[in-house]
Amino acid sequence: MIRHCVHISPNEVKVDGKALIHNDKGSTMLTELYRTYVGDYPKFFKMDTLSRVGFLASELLLNAEGNRCFEPREDRAVIFFNRNASLQADTHYQSTIQNPENYFPSPAAFVYTLPNIVTGEIAIRNKYFGETSFMIIDDFDEKIIMKNLENAFQDPITKSIIGGWVDCSDEEHFEADIFIMEKD
């Protein structure tokens, strides 16, 4: 059963189908959303774009769910899919090593060159000890995603999943479509 959903794209943000008002677009919109709806998590500014999008989407989603208590739980999984893995972060990291004359590999950039980090950021923020995972398929496919998430309930403890599509090809091109799925 799907409870609550969030959509984020460079021009649009919707929570449970209802549009949120915002002044900015693209990467500055993400900062605006952070300041308006979160505000108490400065680690946001260390995140790459994929993690910012996924993190913000999860914050809006969990605010919609309500009763946020940040109590540790193991029965909620965070499972995302995308097409571009961590491309924006990869490109950024590559730029720190591309030129032998200006070679300064950045650990803060390197740590985000794995798409699953966004699921880790959500787990840390919410104290989720449950399953976190990330998979890549070259085209968005709702059927594949839904079937995979249903399968995740085979884990004996998982009862709830924050799942969906979180993708980003560069700082200004991203989208998230995530939802909470509860075990029937």
């Binding site: 400065p42 300064f104 650990p107 803060a108």
Partner: protein, 85 residues
Amino acid sequence: MEELIYKLKQQIIEALNLEDMKPEDIDDNASLFGEGLGLDSIDALELIVMMEKNYGIKLQDPAQGKEIFKSVAVMADFIQKNRTK
């Protein structure tokens, strides 16, 4: 030295993405890790990169970082003595 300390604070803010901070917000002698600014292990590694990039100082052992990054004042002192840029 004061000029170095101010510049260093700006560089730290930039290197560590401390978006909402200004140099005035960082006390010269406040601890950077633990209680003070609450920086973590990745921040420490990033500061090592920053030291090399901006001042030509190479730290081979991350454990050295613990002593040098105690506070901005301690860092500035170390940089003053060891900079090659």
